[in-house]
């Protein structure tokens, strides 16, 4: 099992990096994050009453909030491009043990998106710190752990949705709806039950973990973590079941 899994992961690694879309999405994430970090740093330095001594890492969640979608797109397309192109047929010919393929893909895409996302967030903190010098501090890097969790749970959800829906458009729209559009939109209508629905969506948890907003709705850190994990596990279970039980393509 170990050796088979290792070589399947090695193949997934080559698969991921040998298509251009991976590079484009990562480049987009990098540019977006560092651009925002630079602007945030500069505007902090220009404030009349600068927040002296605040941690520079506070920039990380702000840049990750919009840029996570470029990272999640890497995960979605790593799965769905194979269904669009028919590439899933040779893939399953080479790795007919579908659970092995599933977990190798989950591990490789999640690791790449999360590790690079956190690394980018780290350099964004440094960029902000330099741009705002000498106002910000380099203490309190623990927020990067929160960033890592949000990216990890988001990528797991994205991979699961990709396997479940088998469509790039469907996967990307699903990720957007669950992580951004519905959590932001539903509470706007002012109906309590719509807000309650919004509160159990993974996007509300992600936003709360990153920004501590919205306050006053009774959200907790622990509850948000659990909720994101439940969504991730649910999507993975659905995606796994479809891959293992259905025809290849």
């Amino acid at each position: 099992m170990g050796e088979l899994f290792a070589r399947t992961c090695a193949a997934e690694w080559t698969r991921l990096w040998s298509v251009r879309s991976t590079w484009w999405f990562l480049a987009a994430a990098w540019a977006m994050m560092h651009g925002i970090a630079l602007m945030a740093g500069v505007s902090t330095a220009g404030q009349p009453d600068p927040p002296v001594g605040d941690p520079a890492w506070g920039i990380a969640p702000i840049v990750v909030l919009p840029a996570q979608f470029a990272l999640l797109a890497v995960a979605v397309t790593a799965v769905t491009a194979e269904y669009a192109t028919g590439g899933i047929v040779p893939t399953l010919q080479w790795t007919p043990r579908r659970s092995v393929l599933f977990w190798a893909r989950v591990v490789v895409t999640t690791a790449v998106a999360t590790v690079l996302g956190v690394a980018f967030a780290f350099t964004c903190g440094l960029v902000g710190w330099v741009a705002a010098r000498p106002i910000l501090d380099l203490e309190g890097a623990g927020v990067l752990g929160t960033v890592a969790f949000v990216l990890l749970a988001g990528t797991l959800l994205s991979v699961g949705l990709g396997f479940l829906l088998r469509s790039t458009a469907g996967g990307l729209v699903g990720v957007f709806l669950l992580l951004l559009v519905l959590p932001a939109l539903l509470p706007q209508f002012g109906y309590e039950w719509l807000t309650e629905i919004a509160d159990v969506l993974p996007g509300t948890s992600a936003i709360f973990l990153l920004t501590e907003e919205p306050s006053g709705r009774g959200l907790t850190e622990r509850g948000s973590v659990v909720l994101m994990l439940v969504w991730a596990v649910g999507a993975l279970a659905g995606g796994w079941a479809r891959l293992v039980r259905d025809d290849a393509g």
Binding site: E3, L4, R7, T8, A10, A11, T14, R15, S18, V19, R20, S21, A81, E82, T85, G86, G87, I88, V89, P90, L92, Q93, W94, T95, P96, R97, R98, R245, D246, D247, A248, G249
Partner: protein, 300 residues
């Protein structure tokens, strides 16, 4: 090194694509897998490769279900749809992924690329490949693990004349090395030169499973067409043969050869204007076999 298909059945809603199909494919032979469009050839192959789930029955490769194999490329090479590849990868990257999945040394990738004549296109993206080039890439993938069992679904599609000749030679030499080769086609003429055995299906059901020679004999192939101004005299000389009169001056002689008919005519002193063996008889025989089983017949 065998493929065993037992009671294989696949339904798509109301359509029975494959219907209780059983046959064996044996080592050292090229087995032609024949049937009209929609007969269920591709569906059968996808089930053998564990890609589609059978409604009933099973398919085994080397005594095991394909989906259980840990390094399938080393046992079974297959080319189904040559277009089913990510167009953004280079041909070489595509095969390197394949090699990684099965623990095959990447040096082997360049070997098979050279073998199929793609070394110059290897570093180009597949989206720029022609159908024939994709076909060759798929064949390279099938050969990558040096497998004992090979399946090709209509490998001749899209190949030029040289390519067709090349693939016929390749199939032959693979079988001569003792491998098990199953190659599908909807045209009898495509496989009659290369196949030792044929499995014919129509509407998902087995119609014939026999050697190519037997199929030809059993169907009264080898018709000799002969034209002569003295048809009656020739008819007399051919007494004992199965002869059909195709016109005032034309006879069709079954189960004979042009050499035999020519010799008999010469002995009887009958002048001949034309003497040939009808190549198409096998095709016609195949059409006769599958005629009732054609799914999509043209109209008009």
């Amino acid at each position: 090194m065998t493929i065993e298909v037992r009671g294989l059945t696949r339904r798509y809603g109301d359509v029975v694509a494959v219907d209780d199909l059983s046959f064996d494919v044996l080592p050292g032979t090229v087995t032609g897998f024949l049937g009209p469009n929609g007969a269920g050839k591709s569906t059968t192959m996808r089930m053998v490769l564990g890609l589609d789930r059978p409604t009933a029955g099973s398919a085994r490769v080397n005594g095991r279900a394909f989906a259980e194999l840990r390094a399938p490329l080393r046992e079974v090479g297959a080319l189904l749809d040559p277009g089913a590849v990510h167009p953004g990868r280079t041909g070489r990257a595509h095969l390197r992924v394949a090699a990684r999945t099965n623990g095959i040394p990447t040096a082997r990738v360049d070997e098979v690329l050279a073998q199929v004549g793609l070394e110059r296109a290897a570093r180009r993206r597949i989206k720029g490949y022609s159908l024939g080039m994709k076909q060759r890439l798929g064949i390279a993938g099938a050969l990558l693990g040096d497998p004992g069992v090979l399946l090709f679904d209509e490998p001749i599609n899209g190949l030029d004349l040289d390519g067709v000749r090349w693939i016929r030679g390749l199939l032959r030499s693979l079988a001569d090395e003792g491998r098990t080769v199953l190659v599908s086609s909807h045209l009898m003429s495509e496989v009659q030169q290369t196949a030792d055995r044929v499995v014919v299906i129509g509407r998902g059901r087995l119609i014939a499973d026999t050697t190519t020679g037997e199929l030809m004999r059993g169907l009264g192939a080898r018709v000799v067409r002969v034209r002569t101004p003295e048809a009656d005299a020739l008819l007399e000389a051919l007494r004992g043969h199965r002869v059909a009169r195709a016109g005032v001056d034309e006879l069709h002689v079954s189960e004979s050869s042009s050499a035999e008919v020519g010799a008999l005519a010469h002995a009887a002193g009958v002048p001949l204007h034309h003497l040939s063996e009808l190549e198409q008889s096998l095709e016609e025989a195949y059409l006769a076999l599958t005629g009732d089983a054609v799914e999509f017949a043209g109209h008009g």
